[in-house]
Symmetry: D2
Subunit: 164 residues, 4 copies
């Protein structure tokens, strides 16, 4: 399987900087690399762009993500994104009607703090793309992969939940 | 989404027993529970049977797994299994032509030692079942989910690889 | 051995709050409990007070720490403290000339992110108190336990280093 | 502070070999290096010898340990040793009346599985050697550092306990 991963930052990637005493969104793929190391049957193209907390994303960032998807080598694309505005970016991408299988994912807790949740969300995207799915814009979080409009962040619970 | 998980043991579940100084296959779901805790959109039925290193499985164990699949509440079934004989059990189940979506998974390193690989394999199965897949017997390991006959354990590398 | 632990907060205790998307200093002893679980030969008295990032500590907090030391059941006392102002608090305590063996410790990275550094610093304090040491105010960080005036935080490196 | 570490193997160092499906005692210092990385104030001499489960140690292994202690650059020596026969080796070393401060340590659970217990035991040895202790043969396990004859492995509990 061939998959393009567009890593845009967000909680998924955050790491603690002991000098500053803060969590930072790094511009590298260290969080991702730990998962990918076990994907022996996937050929990845990885693009690292934006590298922001998604609350700080501006229109030009979303356009950059759109361009990265359009120019990706593969028709299977996973986008690692912050959870706070993933609904905005995914809705924008959906409207562009790109003929690819696009799956947004991310994490509520940084991979550097809890390897389970981040690995789960990303790996669900991979498993979904292993199936013969139609072109579309999806989101993979907390147990399921569905159309990006159907899974919504509940900010009180800190969980993405299917919108009934 | 509703999913039945049949946990049969294997490396995925192994834990260190400090009294005996050995890794053991426990008869509980502690390894699984850590992943499931983040699956807020899945209703699980969990069956814990056999609880063996798969090298120790005998015919009656495989029949028990077959019965557990047939009697599962859901048509989406994930089977956590040891990697050494998963090809035997999955082939047997495939021949039984059960009208369900059955995905075998497992791990090369215990969840208690490396949370990434085990979580990845299990979560790929979940992502695959989120898609509208046909009835069949599949295996989810190391980046992909495919028909159980197509992914084979390379014992020198310790990796499941697509059989060309 | 009998030891009083006064847990005042700091980086050592910080945990990620996925709802707020931030690290917080909790008012509990979860970070400490994980270490103490293996201390089968120590009888602990544990006091949880202040629970602050040490940059936010005020004079009354330091007086509260002083009172907690004076009223501790044991003459062996470990104080878990934030690294940014541990030099101020330890100097104050030293001036009070309390007839106890008082060891300050803490961590540059939260126990919830890196279990090694926090466990190391705390455990060095325990090992030091196992020896027949004189009353005094010490600090246990990054490999050694010395008089609290002799180990200084290098803010560029993020390391406590012996002051030559 | 200058410390010689003699790493002889044991549970402390064990790592999972996914090809063999077993825990092995490696002949490297990976477990140790993770702790030492935070010891910014210690100059280490590290010797890696024997590399065995301590149940497999023979007389010549113990003589090799004795020679390594005698020829160590520093008078502060930590010996990482398996827990099953640490009482035999430490008793032998004690009888040799070497004029150094010798601290045996180890772990009930491999550092590769649980970083807390192994880090705690080793770091207590470091903290103890930071104090002005007399020459002797000590053991650092589970909360305390005492003369090697006074802390005994309880094989039912999997704990080293002070012998009353």
């Amino acid at each position: 399987m061939k998959v393009t991963v567009i890593n845009t930052g967000g909680t998924f990637n955050k790491r603690y900087n002991p000098i500053k005493g803060q969590l930072e969104v790094p511009a590298d793929n260290i969080a991702l690399d730990k998962i990918i190391a076990s994907c022996h049957n996937v050929e990845f193209e990885i693009k690292n762009i934006v590298s922001k907390d998604s609350l700080d994303m501006i229109d030009s960032d979303r356009e950059a993500i759109c361009e990265a998807i359009k120019s990706s080598e593969n028709d299977k694309v996973i986008i690692v994104h912050g959870t706070d505005t993933v609904h905005l970016t995914s809705e924008l991408i959906k409207q562009r009607r790109i003929n690819k299988k696009i799956v947004f994912t991310g994490a509520m807790v940084p991979m550097s703090i809890d390897e389970v949740e981040a690995t789960m969300n990303f790996s669900q995207a991979l498993g979904f793309l292993s199936a013969d799915v139609e072109d579309g814009t999806y989101i993979a979080m907390h147990g399921v992969v569905v159309d990006c409009s159907k899974l919504v962040k509940n900010r009180e619970l800190g969980q993405f939940l299917i919108q009934e």
